[in-house]
Amino acid sequence: MALPTAEQAAPPAGPAGPAAPGSAGAAPGRRRRRQVQPYILLIPAVVLLAAVVGYPLIRLGVISTQGFGLRTLITGRAASVGTANYTAILHDPQLVPVLVRTVVFAATLVAGTVVIGFGAALMMVAAGRKLRVAMMLALLGAWAMPTVASTLVWQWLFQPTYGVVNWLLTQLRVFGDVRQHDFLAGTTSGFVVVWLLVVWISVPFVALTLYAGLSQIPADYYEAAAIDGAGYLRRLRTVTVPFLRPVLMLVTVLSVIWDFNVFNQIWILTKGGPDGATTTIAIWSFTQAFASQSYGQGAAIAVFSVVLLAVLVGWWVRRLVVTGEEA
């Protein structure tokens, strides 16, 4: 007999169990009411999203087809320019480097966040109660800190002369004396500092969500796997990951979306510099809109990036929805 897998572990779908009275012999009228019910229960969510996201979205779409510049703010009138803003950004020589940078940045961030977050969740399970609570508090402290403050503290840690990290690296005597080194001024080291900060901020969410997911796995499956002689890594692969897959994929997809759009941390630390080394598509959209006062182009970049992101994660989300149907 093989080790239990997700397919076997998942409860039998459909009416395999004892049928509830009423559900089998329901009157046609009642059945129709049941058909309508889901839509009724979805309405609050749809209304909320339409008000908070839908309406601003239409505004964004309209602005992206207008020559919405500084003059518009004064006169209150914006001329429609059709697709000119889109043509402009598609022919902008910055487009390709920005896209490549955004994808590399997001991919390395997602990999770091999910691997470290998953590791931390497994460690929380293995740790004793006191250590587990200590880990949770440390993670929660990092998560609950306002972004502005955590970014500034990070800047503080890497500061020339007073930075704790500069001091620590100097003590290691591997890199020489780096006490005066400005990490944010180098293109690679600036990228690394931003990466560390974003991972540090994102890991708590992934770790605590996966930890909650781990708590749902019935102990029987681990016992069965242990009887079959499976070691820790094998149990991880055959029991933990299949069970955790829906939650694991959800946090991965959300990490992709959020890391693609990271803005605050980059803006406060480097403003997209040095030499545009940390200018991702979010930074580009913002600088086009507000620094170059070309709101139309900024909006066009924002719409373009959402379409790109929707296509990128679209097939993945399909799989997510299908996974949900199997369970």
């Binding site: 049928a19 229960l41 999203l49 609950a144 306002p146 403050a149 969500t209 959800l250 679209g314």
Partner: protein, 297 residues
């Protein structure tokens, strides 16, 4: 399963190089790695927090001292953020109202939506779930222009309700998806059994499904609460005076154009983080004890 397959499996297992069987009595390599890693992660995540606390406690005249721990602790930063014409107490109250309001609204709206997407197969289910996720793909900075116009038209500038609604909308996606995943994992037979015993559909949902999905509900709750607690861009746009703004905006006021008041900034940040920790302390038992259901030790 037969004894033969079991033994052959365990033999095969013994040959896996990275799964060594330690002698009895000694802690296993895995245990050492896991616990060591746990300490390391706790340390890495607490360090910036400690640095913040130490900076808030450091007297101004020691600012350029190269020591990590200040020679004297100065607690006045923690009291002076509340004194004078500071509206810190009001900002804290607004933040609490916004965070609790948004969390309540998200759960109120997400629970039924997630339950029905998990239990029913209806037309548009996939489209609904995908559209909910698409709402996460927009930059808040790209949305503020539209949100500001909308709230101005509704006469809701400086209103706590505006922030509650926007924060709830921004964070609904995660709640719907995670709750839907948890509800899907709960066997429908458990609800049917409760209904045979005379419970209504809602009764079965409340007494059977909700308790079993508690880790997911707590995750959605913490996520929404923290996101609403720290939301900055929209709060900055929708509030015009310091005594109408939440903490995230008030904290930002310590950052001037040329200088940053690190002492007050970090003191107020430490104070601002405490309510989240307290909230977690209140519901921590739910998360930690969720593990009694299963364990991979």
């Amino acid at each position: 399963m037969t004894a033969v397959t079991t033994s052959s499996r365990s033999q095969r297992q013994d040959r896996v190089p990275n799964a060594p069987k330690p002698p009895r009595g000694l802690p296993s390599v895995k245990k050492i790695l896991m616990v060591g890693g746990a300490y390391l992660i706790a340390l890495i995540f607490i360090t910036p927090y400690l640095e913040m606390l130490l900076t808030a406690l450091r007297p101004v005249k020691e600012d350029s001292d190269p020591t990590i721990i200040p020679h004297h602790f100065q607690w006045s930063n923690f009291t002076s953020v509340f004194s004078g014409d500071s509206s810190f107490g009001t900002n804290m109250r607004i933040t609490l109202e916004v965070a609790f309001g948004a969390t309540f609204l998200v759960l109120l709206v997400a629970l039924p939506a997630a339950y029905y997407t998990a239990r029913k197969r209806f037309r548009g289910r996939k489209a609904f779930l995908f559209l909910v996720l698409v709402t996460q793909m927009f930059q808040p900075t790209a949305m503020v222009v539209g949100i500001y116009g909308e709230m101005r038209d509704l006469n809701m500038i400086n209103s706590v309700w505006a922030l509650i609604i926007v924060d709830a909308g921004f964070n609904l996606a995660f709640a719907v998806w995670i709750l839907s995943a948890y509800f899907s994992a709960i066997p429908v037979e458990l609800e049917q059994a409760a209904m045979i015993d005379g419970a209504t559909r809602f009764g079965a949902f409340r007494r059977v499904t909700i308790p079993l999905a508690m880790p997911g509900i707590v995750t959605a709750l913490i996520f929404t609460f923290i996101a609403a607690w720290n939301e900055f861009i929209v709060a900055l746009t929708l509030t015009t005076s310091p005594d109408k703004a939440p903490l995230s905006v008030a904290v930002d006021n310590y950052i001037g154009q040329y200088t940053v008041d690190y002492g007050h900034l970090f003191a107020s940040t430490v104070i601002a983080t405490i309510p989240v920790i307290v909230l977690f302390g209140l519901i921590e038992r739910k998360v930690v004890d969720g593990l009694t259901a299963g364990s991979i030790k």
